[in-house]
Every structure is written in structure tokens, then in C-alpha cells.
């Protein structure tokens, strides 16, 4: 059975009742893994919201959203926080940040905000992109400029599909009414230009693999990419 994931939810961390309502809806929608945005200053102790989701059998991965204003700031933040988070996403609003973020293997997800001088997701970025390009449902359900936003998202997905860049779908929900079924998010990705298989992988296989790989990396920080432990021998052997 497919394990669905939504790697971008951002409820208020002190509002337990809102988190509980969201957890109930996610549980009903069979979402098994969520990426919860936790700012660095609230990382320890673990926010009670995390337990609210876990009580309903939802696996919570802590996510950091970075919005750096320069390449140096991005690199500094990655050095500082990478080992503390299961998911690191970067908002690419500036061209110099985009160029580094798409290539750096410490970045899991890149997003291209609607405004900014970054110029959006272009072909040259797509060809070198190691991170997953994220599409948020909130980009389309906001109240204004629907057609322009639809055009921009469609263009980004088209470029990603041409360059075989991985695309994932999330909701960016902060309340139950902003949540969507992962299967519906996949339908939107499909209608916007991805193949149905790639769209379904974008809400199930790929996000789950991102979390799994990063957890392994956090447990075994010395392991190189692509190396995994098959067996450990006892020290006295």
C-alpha cells in the first residue's frame, strides 16, 4: 500500500487544538508522514504539537525553511542547521542563492516564490538540480491572480519534467481547511503537466525517501551518500 506524505505543514506550534484537528484530517486522508516547520529557536524541547501528530500514528519530520539573502548566508545556515533537521528547504528568491541551493546536496527541497529577482526556475537550474522542486497547493488557492500563478507553476513543472528534475507536492497548510488529500495534490500535478506516475511518486515515494535518507544520515553522519550499513560486527570479533 502506498504511503502518502505531506512535507510542508506549518501550524502554530503552541496551538494544540488546531494541531489536533489537522492530525485528525491527515489521519482520515491516510497521510502517514508530515514535514512540520519548526523554527530553530523552538527545536528544543520538542514542541507538544509533534506529539499530537504522533499520537494518531503520523510520522513527523522536522523541517527548516531557509530564506537566505545571499549565498554566504545560505552556506552558513546549512553548516549550522543541517544536522538538526530531517528536511531542509530553501526559498530561492535570489539568483545567486538559487544557483547554490539547487546543487548543494545538503538541500532537500527548493521552492521558487512568486516574487523576487531570482527569475524563477529556469532550464539551466533544472539541469543541475539535485534537490526536489516543491509545488505548494497554497500557491494556487490564494485569492488573487489565479491565472498568472497557474501559468507560472505550469511553466516550472514543464521545465522540471523536461530536465527530469524531481517534483514533490505539498500543501503548506496552517489550518485544517488548507489541507488537501495527497492523491488530490498528485491530480493537480498531473493536470499541470507531470505524468501520473511522477505525480503520484511526488506525494508518496519521493518525500518518504527524502525523510528516510536524512534520518539515516543523522544517525550515521560519517556515511557518504549512497553507502549503507548492511551488518555490524561486534568489537571483540
Amino acid at each position: 500500500m502506498k504511503q502518502y506524505a505531506d512535507l510542508h505543514i506549518c501550524p502554530r506550534l503552541d496551538d494544540i487544538s488546531n494541531a489536533r484537528s489537522m492530525a485528525n484530517v491527515l489521519s482520515e486522508l491516510e497521510t502517514r508522514v508530515v514535514g512540520l516547520v519548526v523554527p530553530p529557536d523552538q527545536l528544543t524541547p520538542t514542541p507538544p504539537t509533534v506529539n499530537t501528530f504522533m499520537e494518531l500514528g503520523i510520522d513527523v519530520a522536522k523541517r527548516l525553511n531557509l530564506t537566505p539573502r545571499s549565498r554566504e548566508e545560505l552556506l552558513r545556515n546549512l553548516r549550522r542547521y543541517r544536522s538538526k533537521y530531517e528536511i531542509v528547504a530553501v526559498d530561492c528568491g535570489i539568483a545567486s542563492v538559487s544557483r547554490v541551493a539547487v546543487r548543494d546536496r545538503r538541500v532537500d527541497i527548493v521552492r521558487f516564490p512568486k516574487r523576487g529577482s531570482g527569475g524563477g526556475f529556469r532550464g539551466n537550474l533544472a539541469r543541475t538540480c539535485r534537490a526536489a522542486l516543491e509545488f505548494n497547493m497554497s500557491e494556487l488557492t490564494e485569492a488573487w491572480g489565479f491565472q498568472a500563478r497557474l501559468h507560472r507553476v505550469r511553466r516550472e513543472i514543464e521545465i522540471a519534467a523536461e530536465a527530469s528534475t524531481v517534483v514533490i507536492g505539498s500543501t503548506n497548510a496552517s489550518s485544517p481547511c488548507e489541507l488537501r488529500a495527497p492523491r488530490d495534490v498528485a491530480a493537480v500535478l498531473h493536470v499541470l503537466g507531470l505524468s501520473l506516475e511522477a505525480a503520484l511518486n511526488g506525494v508518496s515515494v519521493i518525500p518518504v525517501a527524502i525523510v528516510k535518507e536524512n534520518r539515516l544520515r543523522m544517525r550515521e553522519p560519517d556515511l557518504e551518500e549512497g553507502v549503507r550499513i548492511v551488518e555490524r560486527k561486534a568489537h571483540n570479533e
Partner: protein, 108 residues
């Protein structure tokens, strides 16, 4: 004459206050037309089959090849009757009977 094949979707509506069947039908029709136009709307053939007594779940029928389009239109709904709302497909099936059986099985 060949019969058109359909697909049935059970949709959960999340709102603060209960909403009427008419409001649901209107919101879905508006979303389908905004996303795919009148031509797309005719192709999808979305039809409201029924609404639960609590007003939070509705069953829709659409043309077999247009399920993804109807799912997309439903995902785009953010307001019904001026209040924040979300529509989520809980189950989909080839017959309305199977949809009911699968939903009841899930509830148990």
C-alpha cells in the same frame, strides 16, 4: 448505443458551519469552470449524486477519463458560501455501491 462509463467519488467537505447541497454543487461547478472552462466542464460531466445528512460528505459522479480533472477542481476549492472550506476525495470507485461498501469498511 454504448453506455458512458462513470467514476464515483466520495468527497469530504471541511467547513466551520454545515453547508447545503446547493452550495456544494455551486462551488464545484464554479471551480470546474474556472479551471477547465465550459468545454472542460461538459467533458468532465460532474454531477452531485447525494449529500450526507450532516452535510459534510458528498458523492459525485464524473466521466471515467476525467477523474484527475475533477480531483483537481475539488482541490482548488478554498471557499464555499464565503466561508473557508476544503474539499478532499476520501474514496473513489467504479460503482456507487462499491463506494458505500468501501467507506463503511473503512469506518469500522
Amino acid at each position: 448505443m454504448s453506455r458512458t462509463a462513470h467514476r464515483y467519488l466520495l468527497v469530504r467537505f471541511l467547513t466551520k458551519d454545515p453547508i447545503s447541497a446547493q452550495a456544494i454543487e455551486e462551488a464545484v461547478r464554479h471551480s470546474v469552470e474556472e479551471m477547465f472552462g465550459k468545454f472542460g466542464s461538459a467533458e468532465i460531466k460532474a454531477r452531485l449524486m447525494g449529500v450526507s445528512s450532516a452535510g459534510d460528505k458528498a458523492t459525485f459522479r464524473c466521466a471515467l477519463g476525467s477523474v484527475e480533472k475533477l480531483r483537481t477542481a475539488l482541490a482548488m476549492i478554498s471557499h464555499v458560501n464565503g466561508q473557508p472550506a476544503a474539499a478532499m476525495v476520501v474514496k473513489s470507485s467504479g460503482t456507487i455501491k462499491a463506494l458505500r461498501v468501501r467507506f463503511q469498511r473503512q469506518q469500522k
